[in-house]
Amino acid sequence: MPHNHTLLELSKKLRSRDISALELCTHFLDRIEGDTKLNAFITSDTERALQQARVADDALNSGSASPLTGLPIAHKDIFCTKGLKTSCGSRMLDNFISPYDATVVERLAKEGVITLGKTNMDEFAMGSSNETSWYGPVANPWDTSRVAGGSSGGSAAAVAARLVPAATGTDTGGSIRQPAALCGLTGLKPSYGRVSRYGIVAFASSLDQAGPIAQTAADAALLFDAMAGFDPRDSTSLDKKFEAASSSLEKPLKGLKIGLPNEFFDSGVDSDVGAAVQAAVARLCELGASAVNIALPNSAAAIPCYYVIAPAEASSNLARFDGVRYGYRTNDPVDLTDLYERSRAEGFGAEVKRRIMIGTYALSSGYYDAYYLKAQKIRRLIATDFDRAFAQCDVIAGPTTPTTAFKIGEKMDNPVSMYLNDIFTSSVNLAGLPALSIPVGFSGSGLPIGMQLIGPYLDEAKLLNVGHCYQQTTDWHRHVPGEFA
């Protein structure tokens, strides 16, 4: 069946005309339509997808196709899509039809990629379990009583259940890597500045990056190469040329030095998770790599630092939702203040409001130095830790998350216990580095385990190379939850 194939395999089948783009598109639309358990999608777009598929078939028949032409994917509902609802998982944008496309959406469409729909997510990307979505939680295809992770939970669940062969996500503190890990997938968070943020609803502008969630590192490379690159419409986009990451996937790992931070293997990590990651490192060593112990001494401060910087930036970014120009507006406001206060109170959910409140507090008069300035100094120390580590190694490896997927509802009562999910991922965003999560095994209860590989700034090609070589000798990435096979 077509859904048991990677993007690269499907690309071959499309080119050899074993299957048409229209057939492929219809197959996946049927799977999306047929699913009643996951709640992975907020919007699916049948008419437009079928139209795009017909155009792709014309290009494939006339020989003008790119390697991506005719491949169907889904976009996280944080990417603006022209003429299509872009909700960001929020009641605030439930009625928002974007008047323009995000650069990522535009670039992939130009390559002939077909958009099947928009995936569920934590509201405004604030969450680690997809439970803060206005549209309800997303279930994990490996155990539907458990979370798919977040904030890109819909994208991860959709790919894990093969409702789509791959999807886009965004990552501010772990939102691509954590759901990829909890769903047994490959997720890439690129270096800050590599992928345009234009048309992505902003959460924390100095941390947000978009990237692919896919079945394999090779598929992630294919999408990343198409998504990345200079965009004059994003003032933080890097104006540099890069070799395609896809071109160096096969590079032998001989001589590769893998740094293992003591801080990432401490007692807070589930024993199944720690053991699977150690085994994966051992496998990489069999392929020619060697492991060295390194230190990231300020790791423990990453979460506290992140929960000042991200909410501070969010409180500023989300000030734009005022009930005046677009989005939700309350009924019968008595005056302008009432319009603002009630539109925002009714349009935002609990977690978003908490973060706006924390951010507002941290930036308010008298507290700036104690919170925001202090956090910025710690951010520097965290970035410096990574610089020092990369003087000793080429990549850093550790668990993506301390545990496997937890139960829906388990952590919703205590925001702080939810925040600790991002303990190994958020420091990467603070430093602006690239990182990849790849599946490296299953827990005793059959839940996927992810290993995070962190690279030096702008070296996503190395991460994808390591991930690909690992996947050439393992088959964790080939496992599909039985119910969805």
């Binding site: 039809i97 008047p99 323009y100 500045g193 100095s206 003032s235 933080t236 890097l238 104006d239 300020n298 401060a301 979460i303 506290p304 929960y307 000042v308 000030a319 005022d322 009930g323 005046v324 120009r325 677009y326 989005g327 939700y328 507006r329 406001p333 005056d335 302008l336 009432d338 319009l339 206060e341 009630r342 925002r344 109170a345 009714e346 935002f348 409001k353 908490r354 706006i356 409140m357 924390i358 507002t360 507090y361 941290a362 308010s364 919170y371 202090k374 956090a375 910025q376 100094k377 710690i378 951010r379 520097r380 120390l381 970035a383 205590n414 925001p415 702080v416 925040y419 603070l430 602006g432």
Partner: protein, 95 residues
């Protein structure tokens, strides 16, 4: 770090977030817990450390001052909750 009900009202006012009386206690509890987590920053000595505002230390790019966009006024106003004659409508501000 403990946040009082009065603090909650003040922050909500700054953020233009309407809060019901029942919610105040919950916010005070939640925000206090988050600030306890954040207080772990104080374990780190940051004397003499230069703050890092952003991952790319390069200065922002400038562009030529030329027209790069066409007029999208109707599209953009079309998604507003209330507009008339090209203007956004809000409750009366000046009596």
């Amino acid at each position: 770090m403990s946040i009082s009900n009065q603090d909650v009202h003040h922050i909500a006012r700054l953020a233009r977030l309407g809060i019901s009386d029942e919610e105040v206690e919950i916010y005070a509890d939640n925000l206090s817990r988050i600030l306890d987590l954040v207080a772990q920053m104080n374990d780190v000595d940051t004397d003499g450390i230069e703050p890092m505002a952003h991952p790319s230390d390069v200065s922002l790019r400038l562009r030529d001052d030329t027209v790069s966009e066409t007029d999208h006024r109707d599209e953009f106003m079309g998604i507003a909750p209330a507009s008339e004659n090209g203007l956004y409508l809000v409750p009366k501000v000046i009596e």
